[in-house]
């Protein structure tokens, strides 16, 4: 949203420097994303009068002599290409040396100079169109200025109050503040944060526009007696209030002859000038935050095929179609709200009007709508049809019901037509909540020491009604504050308006923290693995169905994401190793010659079911892969060395037993060349090489192994300290010729050398020999 500071100043007296104002707005109201400085954008642009205009033969150009008042002693000659230039008109003249305003933002702003046109006509500066002045995209001719407003030599910036700063407001943090989406509401807050009382315009509370009509109260709301319009709302939840007026008008689509301040304000707020009526409805929306829509009333009656006009507000039928003002045909769904005349849709509520009731040159009467629709429905409409207009942006914040009728009256007055009929559908007027609160409650939550008067004034400044009875404040918000319900809402008002920055930071005293043992374990592993030359990775929690397949895991055991970004991220992973195999391929390709990579993260499987909170059982897992592109040895032993060292660091000495299980963790591993890691008869992980099919599907080099550890199980057995070994006194290597496994041979050695610490040595087997020579390194300690 764009906010012109000059427009704001019409409603609030700002007596602090702009910089300070912008800081205050940021600190006490909303994030200011950017500030567009237009204080010198219109320098050297003057009002001028065309004294003489002669067509240059065989061209579309006109040779003009213009009176630029005090800006030059004599008439200035300018060549103009616009069709509407004529003698006597007041124009905007961009003097030589000035920058064309529309080009200010460009990399190379266009500086007007003195030129020679058609080789012989001097042209000094240029006569500007609305688009060149950055007042929208109208390129049909040059702008004309009302002689009642200005005279030659006046600076355009002075006539139209153009020396301005435009604030670019981040809408998101005003999600709950529909009132701030209008200049008046914004100005009210600005007054509040400067400690001033805001004076609300009268029209927000009463209307005196429809006084020629006799209005009476009915069951469904207010209506004019003579000429009636029926409003039928299928469900007041989708449209709690609908105010409508029929106005007799003249020259509906005519544009103002002269450039108006309203057009300038629209442009500064980021909207284009369309026609007088549309401009007024947009202007009133920017002013009040209440979007309006004008239908051609006679067309409305005609498409309705009813003898008496009826406005029907209902949900669309699935597949129902209509053509909108932008000539697009849309297919509606049952969440969209439509305005219908009888049965025929004439507008996609809150989003855009229908082509069939568009206001045009022939329009004699308009039906003006000022309503509030369900923000939930409109939010979905916005997404479904991709409409992000200024109007729907406001509707999706929840337009307050309290103001629709008063704004309708103000817009009718501004349009100036003669009201013929009025109807205000308002079934269940909202009751404004009353909040009772004490100054102590406010101060004890904020950590402040504000006195009662300051609090009351602060709230009153922005329109709250506040009474103090004995110990309590009674706070009543105005109708536009739909966000106020509880004490905390009032505390926010006080804290915010007086400045959170004025709250003195303090430090509470509280107890000491407990250690999170899983966190501490991971920290320890991270330190160790770093030392052992391994690299910690983080990979996505979501994997593709193909990856699960490649890792020999079952897709139906994975939670499936229904709105995944791509098929690559469709399933919640069951273990870490498959993700690492994927990244191993990337790194082998880079190429990285050798690497040991690991990740500690959470995994889920459907087979594990739900926990006591009825959310899926979650496990912490550590996956590890070691790979080299050219090595020929048995990778299993490298992975085993890493996992044994890792567990040793936390005092765990596991057994390495043949694979018995086939759960998801184990499924990528080759049972001939892998071991289950077992502790006290419980499997806590697996280490080994991968099935040939798995390795081939990941396209990885032959030297490849890995392990996966159940960190929750590891944590259960982890000891705080690892065993520090006593110094050895003596050591020797022995070699044994054997045809049994390492484990069995080791047992024999242990028997023969009780008390010795035994480390594995190399294993040698001669060609054609059945037996192996196993070397053991023995250390004897005291």
């Amino acid at each position: 949203m764009k906010i012109s500071l000059n427009w704001l100043r019409k409603y609030v007296d700002i007596n602090i420097p702009n910089e300070e104002l912008i800081r205050l707005i940021g600190a006490r109201l909303v994030e200011v994303e950017g500030v567009i400085d237009e204080t010198s954008k219109y320098d050297k642009i003057y009002v001028a009068r065309v004294e003489k205009a002669e067509k240059i033969p065989d061209t579309h150009l006109t040779l003009c002599q213009i009176n630029v008042g005090t800006a030059s002693d004599s008439l200035v000659q300018v060549v103009c290409g616009a069709p509407n230039v004529r003698e006597g008109m007041l124009v905007a003249w961009i003097a030589p040396g000035a920058i064309v305003p529309a080009s200010v933002k460009e990399d190379a702003p266009f500086v007007i100079g003195k030129r020679k046109m058609l080789k012989k006509y001097e042209s000094s500066g240029m006569l500007a169109g609305a688009d060149e002045l950055d007042f929208g995209d109208d390129h049909s001719g040059i702008v004309e200025i009302d002689p009642k407003e200005a005279k030659p030599g006046d600076l355009l910036a002075d006539v139209f109050n153009l020396k301005d700063l435009i604030l670019e407001i981040e809408n998101k943090s005003l999600t709950h503040r529909p009132d701030c989406f209008g200049i008046i509401g914004f100005a009210r807050e600005v007054a509040g944060i400067m400690g001033q009382k805001f004076n609300d315009p009268d029209f927000l509370f009463k209307e005196d526009t429809f006084k020629d009509l006799v209005l009476k109260q009915t069951k469904t709301g207010l209506e004019s007696e003579d000429q009636k319009i029926d409003i039928e709302v299928s469900d007041s939840k989708i449209c709690p209030r609908y105010s409508a007026a029929v106005l007799k008008i003249k020259d509906a689509t005519e544009k103002e002859k002269y450039l108006t301040s309203m057009q300038v304000l629209l442009a500064k707020s980021g909207m284009n000038s369309i026609s007088k009526i549309v401009d007024i409805t947009n202007y009133i929306m920017l002013l009040t935050g209440q979007p309006l829509h004008a239908f051609d009333f006679d067309k409305f009656v005609k498409v309705g095929k009813n003898s008496s006009p009826k406005i029907a507000v209902r949900l669309a039928k699935n597949g129902e179609k209509m053509i909108l003002l932008d000539d697009e045909e849309v297919e509606l769904n049952e969440n969209d709200i439509v305005i219908a005349s009888g049965d025929t849709p004439v507008a996609l509520a809150g989003a855009m009007g229908g082509k069939n009731t568009m206001v045009d040159d022939e329009t004699k009467q308009i039906l003006l709508e000022s309503a509030s629709f369900s923000l939930y429905n409109l939010r979905k409409t916005q997404m479904a049809h991709g409409i992000f207009s200024e109007a729907i942006t406001r509707f999706t914040k929840g337009v307050p019901c309290g103001g629709t009728f008063n704004v309708l009256a103000e817009a009718s007055k501004e349009i100036g037509g003669k009201p013929v009929a009025v109807k205000d559908y308002y079934m269940e007027p909202n009751l404004q909540p009353i909040v009772k609160i004490t100054t102590k409650e406010i101060n004890s939550l904020l950590g402040t020491n504000y006195d009662e008067k300051l609090i009351m004034d602060t709230l009153k400044n922005v329109g709250f009604e506040v009474q103090n009875d004995k110990s309590e404040l009674t706070v009543i918000p105005k109708y536009w504050r739909t966000d106020i319900h509880i004490k905390e809402d009032i505390i926010e008002e006080v804290g915010r308006l007086l400045g959170y920055d004025n709250i003195i930071p303090t430090l509470p005293l509280h107890g000491t923290a407990d250690i999170n043992s899983m966190f501490a374990l991971k920290h320890k592993i991270r330190d160790l693995m770093d030392k052992l030359g391994a690299n910690e990775l983080l990979t996505y929690s979501f994997v593709s169905g193909k990856l699960l397949e490649k890792a020999n895991q079952d897709q139906s055991n994975s939670y499936k994401i229904v709105n995944s970004i791509s098929p690559e991220l469709q399933y919640v992973r069951q273990s870490i190793v498959p993700s690492l195999l994927d990244k191993a391929f990337l790194n082998e390709k880079l190429p990285v010659e050798q690497f040991a990579i690991y990740e500690m993260n959470k995994v889920y499987r459907k087979e594990w079911g739900r926990d006591e909170e009825d959310v899926p059982v979650e496990k912490n897992s550590l996956g590890f892969i070691i790979a080299e592109r050219k090595k020929k040895e048995t990778a299993y032993y490298a992975a085993k060395k890493y996992v044994a060292r890792l567990l040793g660091e936390i005092g765990i000495v596991p057994e390495f037993l043949p694979l018995k299980n086939s759960n998801a963790t184990l499924r990528p591993f080759d049972s001939n060349r892998s071991a289950e890691i077992v502790l006290k008869n419980k499997t806590i992980g697996v280490v080994g090489e991968f099935k040939n099919s798995v390795r081939a599907s990941f396209k990885l080099a032959e030297y490849l192994a890995g392990f996966e550890l159940d960190l929750d199980a590891v944590l259960q057995s982890a000891k705080l300290k690892k065993e520090i070994r006593p110094f050895s006194k003596k050591s020797e290597d022995i070699t044994i010729t054997t045809d049994t496994s390492y484990e069995e041979t080791l047992k024999k050695v242990q028997k023969e050398h009780p008390g010795a610490r035994i480390e594995p040595g190399t294993i040698y087997q001669g060609i054609g020999q059945k037996t192996k020579n196993m070397t053991f390194h023995l250390e004897f300690v005291e």
């Binding site: 950590g447 959170y500 303090t506 107890g511």
Partner: protein
């Protein structure tokens, strides 16, 4: 081994055949078609052989090894890689540092879940049903309607409930919740669908917004090892009231100048409905909570411009840390 050598040889042959194609220009025009046909035939044959050999390799029974041993037969004992190759993931190292500081300040650490439900993600946090704020989080969902959480606040209700006893014992609840979160959005240099946050929750009998600002400032001063100016901005979250955005003046170590402010996190006084839902009486206790991104801290620290590096698994990047 022989099988893979065979594949290597076949691939070499394929390379040679591909090189033959270049010769086609030298062949007389009338013979070109025949030359091409023969070459294609030969190539198809080699391709088929490669496919078969690769299939054989996959189907080949692997040779069992002695899983109890510590090295292969006639192989040297394996070695660890040198420490110079090792690295910690920068996000995890940062998270360790962040939680370390909070622990020093008396905050327990509870890790966030990575798959949660609608109740914890929204309902327990005072999000009205169908409220557009729910859409604002662009959550992923599973077939069962579970949610990979879009913010670590998904743990707030659990933390409040499980630490409630502290209040009854006259103490404060002081917990931080680091964790991985997910948003359904397109990835670019500054957006990731997977990232890390750290949440903080504090509840006691008489804590104030002043305490919140004090704790947050204290944390960032310890984190950046210097005194800092702070700023706030009104914000909106359904689960805090009032809600704020918290900013710090850009630290010197990050090249900050006076008046440069960095948005660090969202925070606010815990909404009474959130306390109530966890069984804590909002008339007796106040609380505040905050949450901010970890990825951004790391990017600021190292001057990184692309968030996509973090989950890339690219060792050329990771070995820098």
């Amino acid at each position: 081994m022989e099988q893979s050598e065979k594949i290597g040889k076949l691939k070499q042959k394929l390379k040679e055949l591909n090189a033959e194609y270049a010769k086609i220009k030298e062949i007389k025009a009338e013979r070109r078609a025949e030359f091409g046909r023969q070459l294609n035939e030969a190539k198809q044959k080699v391709l088929a052989e490669i496919k078969k050999a690769e299939q054989d390799l996959i189907n080949k029974e692997s040779k069992p090894i002695d899983i109890t041993a510590w090295s292969g037969v006639n192989e040297p004992l394996p070695e660890f890689y040198p420490a110079t190759l090792g690295s910690k993931h920068p996000l995890m190292a940062e998270l360790d540092r962040v939680t370390g500081i909070y622990q020093m300040m008396g905050f327990d650490v509870v890790e966030s879940r990575q798959l949660d439900d609608e109740f914890h993600m929204f309902d327990s946090l005072n999000f009205v049903k169908e409220h557009p704020a729910r859409d604002g989080y662009d959550t992923f969902r599973t077939e069962e309607g579970l949610i990979p959480p879009a913010h670590t606040s998904t743990m707030q209700h659990r933390v409040l409930k499980s630490y409630k006893h502290k209040l009854e014992e006259g103490e404060a609840i002081a917990v931080v919740v680091p964790g991985r979160v997910y948003r359904n959005e397109d990835v670019d240099a500054t957006h990731e669908h997977t990232f890390y946050q750290c949440e903080g929750v504090y509840v006691s009998k008489d804590c104030t917004m002043g305490d919140m600002l004090g704790i947050l400032r204290e944390f960032f001063e310890k984190y950046y090892e210097q005194k800092l100016n702070i700023r706030t901005q009104p914000g909106y979250f359904p689960f805090t009231e009032p809600s704020l955005e918290f900013m710090i003046e850009k630290p010197k170590s990050l090249g900050g100048k006076k008046g440069d402010f960095l948005e660090m996190l969202g925070c606010g006084m815990i909404h009474p409905n959130v306390l109530k839902m966890a069984g804590i009486d909002p008339l007796k206790y106040h609380g505040f909570a905050w949450g901010g991104g970890i990825d951004r801290l790391v990017m600021l620290r190292y001057g990184l411009g692309d968030v996509r590096h973090f989950e890339s698994g690219n060792l050329n990047f990771l070995r820098e840390f």
